[in-house]
Amino acid sequence: MEPSEMTVMKKQSVFHRVWALLQKYMGPIFVSLILLVGHWSFGIMEDIWTVLIAVGAAVAVDLVFGRLYFGKWKNASSGYITGNSVAILIRSTFVWPYALTSAISILSKYVFRYKGRHLWNPSNFGISWMLLTSPSYVAGLSVQWGNNLWPMLIIWVLGIVIVHRAKKLHVTAVYVISFVAFALIRSQITEDPFLAEVAPLTGPMYQLFIFFMITDPPTNVRSKKGQMLVAFLVALMEFVLRLNQLVYAPFYALAIVGPVAKFIDLKMSREK
């Protein structure tokens, strides 16, 4: 083999290894990217300590209880994603809710288990619990990141790429179509403008939910049809909750539908 061919092969090998690493850590990298771009362009994190605390708490709790549960040190990327999601999606004038939400999110993975799998999307459970029980201390990020087109487009493009690679684009698609259809029905019922009903979907914050929370692989059901059905049911539940004027309807809807669907799916797998 000529030296030049060897160099090319080495280069290809390095490239493949980097690409493999990128693919493996696509989730953490993407979440970090959102956070950094959001912070540098819009200053979404008033205090960077809240991010460090949320991530630190999630990683630490995951490591400790992973060791306790499974007898080995876990990869920190799961805790890292959960911590970042918490930091992005909740708001508090205190620091402790960031740590507590992260810790509750991670622990829910260990407590709510069935057949060795956790039932709730961790950050979805933690955030929903805190929003429900602690309104004096915690609010959701219902408005954030501006309302301009380009952040929305960036998240849409990146989100579609990531979700497509994870083979979960159908979940997002069914949810979005269902949401729009239910928005139309809601506008008929409430007599509010259709665009007002569909507005949340156009906000960048909301897109984090449709790309990265409802498509979470560990808490999805197995079959493609089942996943699409669950996405529709989440949208349906959200429709009901929105008619009851719950600001955090999407989080609650997923927290209600997701684990039930996962439980049924796991139960059916044993029966089969």
Partner: protein, 605 residues
């Protein structure tokens, strides 16, 4: 994973998990267990005096002040969200317009055809509305827009305070003729044809001895809210909106005319301005501008020798996190000569926790920097907050804080918040069109909120004493002004309420603290002495205050600076930095428990 967790591991995990789940529930129970407001009775009053040295009592009715603010009626296409659009305009500005030594005040209403009021102090505990006879009331005529606020200053240095009324519409300027009549000179002044203004202050930006006018635009100036060309009038974003009205820096030529120098001086912002504060923040002798913006970040403009303004919001750290910027007020709360800046925002439990900002200047000689310490100072959570004013309410030597709260009080237990959060999260093509906003249908939004009275605890933190010192009902308060209304040596509080009666809060004191006040008169500087900085030194302490030409949301305090000095019976000295001139003026000890009038040229008292 094949490793099966032990029973012990499961039990430990569940215990830890359940404990963590319980934390927010327990904290929420504790938060709900706050004491009820005490009954308005003699025992409660005595307790307030014993504990805090004062209480505030609304005596508007007894004092002859029956003014009620009313919101405007606008283009019919805005009817479905009118309470939100027309949610501003209740203002108050304090002035001694007739130089009789007693504070008077001007109130605005915002309904076309209704008259504003100038309440003259009758020196017997009552006030009389003289706006009609003096010709300063009828400024809400059809086709000219409606009032949003007012600010007073002696614009021609003749010794009489003149009146500027800022409006959604045509701006109004009145020259004061010795307190006996007012001359309307808006046309001559050369103001822009139409501004949708929600803030204005007087300050001498170029130190030429004449106060200039800075007006903050809210809606774009080409929008006539009574005759809309289209409904694309709303902010394009809840947090990064740049489609508000432009601001105006109008240079006073000294002859009753003004020159628009806004863009020449680098003030190009089109954010939605709600409040402005002008103070020399870096001690270079030039007054800087702090601008609080709705739907965006706040701005800090450094005044470069009166020639240019440089925006340094991000460098100073105040310009990062976008909130709702409703108020700017400044106070030396630690008695260290450094002015903290208080910006109010929106807090709605469980929905929007912006928190108010308390910007404490950092001890950095090289550059101006601030840190938000509202949480540790205990003044972070108000409500849907508006004007706030610093002032020593119990004369103990530390500046306290009064904060106005409340947005729209309509149907109880029926909130607009869900619909509001739904649409404000949307893309700008949706949010910026008023027709896309769901109808309010008589619902409340952050209504029925109480104002806050925060007592300064030795400069270290503030204590919420609202429930003990105030029996004011939960109005939709907007503007707050502090003034000694009856020359008793205490700061009373006037609160203007949206679509509701004004409140005159008489400050009842325990009478055991001392005080001293100063009213300055500029000679080389502008005659109102706006921009002058006074530092009082007493008993090993010092406190700095600044004469302003309007401060807070749509508010103006009394012109005189009031210092409480606690139990001290003497003061050591008074240091005055006038806007014009470089030398500071040091005056020796003076008699306490009285107002001193000080002239710039020789420091005569």
């Amino acid at each position: 994973m094949n490793h099966k967790p032990s029973v012990l591991a499961r039990i430990v995990t569940i215990i830890v998990f359940v404990s963590m789940l319980a934390i927010p529930l327990l904290l929420e129970l504790e938060a709900e267990a706050l004491p009820e407001r005490p009954a308005n009775n003699e025992a409660a009053r005595k307790k307030s005096l014993d504990l805090f040295g004062f209480y505030l009592e609304d005596i508007a009715g007894q004092s002859g002040v029956d003014f009620v603010h009313h919101p405007p009626k606008l283009d019919a296409r805005l009817d479905h969200i009118l309470p939100s659009i027309a949610s501003m305009g209740a203002s108050v500005s304090v002035v001694d317009f007739d130089n009789d030594g007693w504070n008077d005040f001007y109130l605005t209403t915002s309904r076309q055809g209704e008259q504003n009021a100038l309440y003259k102090n009758m020196r017997d505990g009552t006030f009389k509305n003289v706006a009609g006879e003096l010709g300063v009331g009828d400024v809400n005529k059809k086709g000219t827009g409606v009032s949003m606020g007012s600010v007073w200053a002696d614009i021609n240095n003749d010794g009489w305070e003149d009146l500027f009324v800022y409006k959604w519409g045509k701006q109004e300027l009145f020259i004061n003729h010795e307190g006996k009549s007012f001359e309307h000179i808006s046309e001559k002044a050369g103001f822009p044809e139409w501004i949708n203004a929600n803030a204005a202050i007087w300050f001498d930006y170029n130190n030429d001895g004449f106060v200039d006018l800075f007006i903050g635009g809210y809606y774009k100036e080409d929008i006539n809210l009574w005759r809309l060309k289209n409904t694309l009038i709303m902010p394009e974003s809840f947090e990064y909106a740049e489609n508000g009205g432009r601001n105006y820096l109008l240079e006073n030529r000294g002859d009753g005319t003004f020159l628009d120098v806004t863009f020449d001086r680098g003030l190009n912002s089109t954010k939605w301005t709600l409040a402005i504060g002008a103070v020399d923040l870096n001690d270079d002798g030039w007054q800087d501008l702090f601008i609080a913006n709705d739907y965006s970040v706040d701005e800090l403009y450094l005044n470069l020798d009166g020639k240019k303004f440089e925006e340094i919001g991000k460098e100073t750290r105040i310009g990062y996190a976008p909130k709702s910027g409703m108020n700017v007020s400044m106070g030396d709360v630690r008695n260290d000569g450094r002015l903290s800046i208080y910006v109010s925002n929106i807090t709605e439990m469980g929905i929007l926790l912006q928190g108010n900002n308390f910007w404490q200047p950092m001890k950095n000689e090289q550059k101006l920097q601030y840190k938000n310490i509202a949480g540790s100072m205990g003044v972070e959570l108000g409500g849907w907050s508006w004007s706030a004013q610093f002032g020593d309410l119990n004369n103990d030597g530390y500046q306290d804080l009064y904060l106005a709260n409340g947005y729209i009080s309509a149907a109880k237990n029926n909130s607009y918040w869900y619909d509001y959060s739904k649409v404000t999260g949307g893309n700008k093509t949706i949010i910026s069109d008023a027709l896309n906003w769901p109808a309010m249908e008589g619902r409340s939004q952050s209504g029925y909120q109480h104002n806050k009275v925060w007592l300064n605890s030795d400069g270290a933190t503030f204590a919420d004493v609202t429930d003990y010192v105030s029996n004011l009902p939960p109005y939709d308060s907007r503007a707050v002004a502090m003034a000694d209304l009856w020359n008793r040596g205490v700061l009373d509080v006037i609160v203007s309420n949206q679509n509701q009666p004004v409140a005159i809060l008489k400050n009842i004191q325990a009478d055991d603290n001392n005080w001293i006040s100063f009213k300055l008169e500029g000679t080389a500087s502008n005659r109102s002495a706006i921009g002058a900085k006074v530092t009082l030194v007493w008993d090993g302490k010092s406190q700095t205050q600044v004469v302003t030409g309007g401060i807070g949301y749509c508010s103006q305090n009394q012109r005189a600076l009031h210092f409480g000095i606690g139990k001290s019976t003497t003061i050591d000295k008074v240091i005055i930095n006038w806007p014009v001139g470089e030398k500071e003026q040091v005056l020796p000890a003076m008699e306490i428990n009285r107002l001193h009038k000080i002239k710039e040229e020789d420091g005569t008292v």
